[in-house]
Symmetry: C2
Subunit: 228 residues, 2 copies
């Protein structure tokens, strides 16, 4: 007998978290990615995996370059909210951010970043819902040597974040064996990003939070939460 | 003025460590990889980046499937030695290992593994010195829920391991700014895997180690070490 696939096993694969950006001074955009990795050392080339529906994918195709900012563990939740759960088609994500324009003029996010890479696209591979852009490294700099890079595992376990639907690592909760929704648990889930507000841990009843309270991960409104 | 590329920045990209295997009951092989990652969620597909010279690449091309065993932090150094720094062309790496044969008959290493994935190749992309095999997930199981997956950063910082020359993330030490070899430091470097034996930390002079002493990482002989 063959066991069912246990999707919990997929959480044992290790990733970092990055902002992948493209565009130029006139129009740039970026998104939170956990799938950035080196594919060759001579020359140094990196792959970035992007959903075909991402606005950033359009920009990478148009401009032929991308940047990767490596986020640290203390990254402001608003960064995840803005770059992870919202589309740049609707607004300019780069507004108000600390942005450097690289050798290729690609925007590079410096906020909460400990290092960045800048790459020129040399291959594009279609893997289904996503594109793999392979870029040759043209610049790389360290920005902060004190903070540790955040891992996706840390984001999931400590920050209680989940991958959005466009992510390569998105897992429908119904596939997980541990999907047994507690009843009257004092837990409220953000329907935008999946963040769980746990009354027992926070010490404040969800109902007692002010009406203008926002999801600490994605900035969604209080009314976007449901009891789970 | 444009700054030089700082290759130290590349160490901020996060990876896990895995044994990627292929073959069948008659002849199987595997190698240590840090570049395994999910590329799509519907269906779940994974990429594995393999040097074209790796024997395992030949086997993946021949058989059309591969397995990924996720190593934990306490993984026996001999595993890195055998699977990371030696070629399976010369000997059978799977001998003496705890191997399961998967749905596709691909060998799956169970030693020091906390989870495994089994994938059927659906795309193969040439990225230069390496191939990116994209496999659709056909099985995934958890093996151990107590140990943590090892990250490449942990391997580098805590275990003092370095990437072998065939790895996508190999960095020639001459490219690193911190490459200033200490003189009479009591440090001896393994010329096979780069492991540093530090007399000050170990409390035993290198000269006093027995002649049959082996590198704890790759199993190389004492005479393969040089003073650095």
């Amino acid at each position: 007998m063959i066991d069912m696939i246990n999707f919990e096993a997929l959480f044992k694969v290790t990733y970092g978290l990055y902002i992948v950006c493209s565009g130029d001074e006139d129009r740039g955009n970026g998104f939170i990615s956990n799938t950035v990795f080196q594919v060759t050392s001579e020359p140094a080339k990196f792959a970035a995996c992007c959903n075909k529906n991402n606005f950033t994918s359009e920009l990478i195709e148009k401009h032929g370059h991308f940047s990767v900012s490596v986020l640290h563990q203390k990254t402001d939740s608003k960064i995840y909210g803005s770059f992870g759960y919202k589309s740049g088609k609707d607004f300019n994500k780069l507004e108000g951010m600390n942005v450097k324009y690289g050798i290729t003029r690609t925007p590079i996010i410096l906020d909460d970043s400990i290092a960045y890479l800048e790459c020129k696209v040399v291959h594009k591979f279609d893997v289904g819902t996503h594109l793999l852009f392979i870029g040759e490294l043209i610049d790389a700099q360290l920005l902060d040597e004190t903070n540790e890079p955040i891992t996706y595992s840390y984001y999931r376990q400590i920050k209680k974040g989940i991958a959005p639907k466009n992510a390569p690592t998105y897992i429908d909760k119904s596939k997980l064996e541990t999907n047994t929704a507690p009843i009257k648990s004092g837990k409220y889930k953000c329907t935008v990003c999946g963040h769980i507000y746990d009354e027992n841990k926070e010490g404040v009843r969800f109902a007692d939070l002010p009406d203008n309270w926002k999801c600490p991960v994605c900035g969604a409104d209080k009314e976007d939460f449901i009891e789970v």
